[in-house]
């Protein structure tokens, strides 16, 4: 298969999106369709630029990202710590099994009303939910990764008479790192999704909230602009994490588990 064939397939993929955008533009413009739900792609672009210029886009993005990142930082760290404990101490893992399995299935959004009660609207509400959501994949992946460490490595640690602290930092964590990074990718994606979800559902800040406002104030162009922007954000975060993974862990194992996690 030559490069020409590969290029041909590339172009075919663009047919559908381009056709849809063009069709939308034509439909709205030619029919003079004035709707509360549809806007021409050109109008959407204008709305996006307007939001960029008057600062709403950036402030909303900052709010969403701040909550996502903060929640991710706390939740992921917590998850890794718990996963490490459960991975290394089988007894603790087994004793905590019922408790964890009882709490884990609770949908993060179900905690929104509780967090709403405790924190009211704002950053802390969102961060709390993101923490709960990102905690679990981090914990599970870390636990699995650590359990999967070849017993040989632990024998080496014993032979070298490493202290528990040294053992964790010099052997356990480096060995589990590729899979933990995959968990980070997954949790990062989840953090954005959950943040937006909380904003759409209940919060007064962020991109999700702005989208709801645009919808209820009948500004479909702004709503769609924010929608596309959120998608772009999600795509950028995924791409950035994938790139980081390729740079940091150029091994096929991480890639394989990464593909499955995607």
């Amino acid at each position: 298969m030559s490069g020409r064939a590969a290029q041909r397939i590339d172009l075919r993929g663009m047919v559908l999106p381009v056709a849809l955008v063009a069709a939308a533009e034509l439909l709205v413009r030619s029919r003079g369709l004035r709707s509360d739900a549809i806007a021409a792609p050109s109008e959407v672009l204008l709305a996006w630029l307007r939001a960029l210029v008057d600062g709403t886009l950036l402030s909303a993005t900052a709010e969403t990202l701040a909550c996502a990142v903060a929640g991710l930082a706390i939740g992921f760290t917590l998850g890794v710590v718990l996963g490490t404990i459960f991975g290394l101490r089988g007894l603790v893992d087994e004793l905590m099994e019922v408790t964890i399995e009882a709490i884990r299935p609770i949908p993060p959004v179900a905690l929104i009303p509780i967090a709403l009660l405790v924190y009211g609207f704002g950053y802390r509400l969102e961060i709390a939910i993101v923490v709960f959501a990102t905690l679990w994949p981090a914990m599970i992946f870390t636990r699995t990764a650590i359990r999967g460490i070849a017993p040989r490595l632990f024998e080496v640690a014993k032979a070298l008479e490493l202290s528990p602290r040294e053992r964790i930092f010099k052997i356990v964590i480096p060995a589990a790192l590729p899979q933990i990074f995959v968990a980070l990718r997954l949790s990062a994606a989840i953090s954005l999704i959950v943040a937006v979800t909380v904003e759409v559902t209940a919060n007064t800040i962020g991109l999700g909230h702005e989208m709801m406002m645009a919808q209820s104030s009948l500004h479909p162009d702004l709503m769609l602009a924010l929608l596309v922007w959120t998608g772009v954000l999600g795509w950028m975060i995924n791409a950035a994490m994938l790139l980081a993974q390729r740079l940091l862990f150029p091994s096929s194992i991480a890639e394989r588990t990464g593909e499955a996690a995607r």
């Binding site: 559908l16 099994e97 399995e101 509780i114």
Partner: protein, 256 residues
């Protein structure tokens, strides 16, 4: 070995009970305001009351129905489109870019658009659930199809099997492990979006119920609802695990 497993499970259960007792102690000592944290006793009685007078059953069924219908719709769509992409080079060429573009979009971000088109209706919630829950199954089907060993396709060609037969008898069974794992994930997504949809559109279900309970400071009802949602998540995952174990018994029996 089974007895040891039962023993650890029992011990684990006792630990969980311990946490519940701790919870009760904190609530009794009013270390946290009862407005935020009802004791397990109050949550339990709210649960019992809710079932006895039927409200909780009604709300629960609402959520369950929404979740299951949305999930079934998403799964059917995901498998069909995934199979199409898996089996047809042309379909893959035309559709894969669009899919890659739409995939990173959080389903909840699509909610305002869905509301714009469908209002605060049942179909809005269902379409949002379907939109969010379709991805894992779709991707798993495509991935599964792509990993079928070429040898099996050669056998199929030699036998003169039709494309449909190849999908039904070779590609789909081969992809079952991936698809089942994806179905579990999409069920979780369906539950989440179902709750979100209920909260937003005030549809009859646990989502709207717990939001209302929070707004009226009825924390025991709130906790009862959250517990029910946790149970829903747990039981649905377990049911799927059972289905998976039964469907994939050729794998476990094959372990020699």
């Amino acid at each position: 070995m089974r007895r040891a497993r039962l023993a650890t499970l029992a011990a684990s259960f006792l630990v969980a009970v311990g946490f519940v007792l701790l919870w009760q102690a904190i609530a009794d000592a009013r270390l946290v305001s009862p407005v935020f944290l009802p004791g397990p006793d109050r949550a339990w009685s709210a649960l019992v009351d809710g079932f006895q007078n039927g409200t909780l059953i009604q709300k629960w069924t609402g959520t369950l129905e929404r979740m299951v219908y949305g999930w079934l719709l998403a799964s059917a769509l995901g498998i069909c489109v995934g199979a199409l992409i898996g089996i047809s080079q042309a379909a893959r060429a035309y559709l894969s870019t669009t899919i890659e573009l739409v995939r990173p979009l959080p389903a909840s971000a699509a909610i305002p658009v869905a509301i714009a088109f469908l209002g605060l209706s049942e179909s809005m919630v269902l379409s949002v659930i379907a939109f969010g829950a379709v991805w894992p199954t779709l991707l798993a089907t495509v991935h599964g199809f792509s990993t079928v060993h070429p040898r099996l396709y050669e056998v199929a060609t030699a036998l003169g099997m039709s494309r449909l037969a190849v999908i039904r008898k070779i590609a789909l069974p081969h992809s079952m492990p991936d698809i089942l794992a994806a179905l579990r994930l999409s069920l979780t997504i369906a539950l989440i979006l179902s709750v979100v949809g209920e909260m937003l559109a005030s549809r009859d279900g646990l989502g709207s119920w717990i939001l209302l309970a929070a707004r009226s400071f009825r924390s025991q009802d709130l906790f009862a609802g959250v517990i029910l949602l946790g149970v829903t998540g747990f039981v649905s995952a377990m049911l799927l695990n059972l289905v998976e174990a039964w469907l994939l018994r050729w794998r476990s029996e094959g372990r020699r």
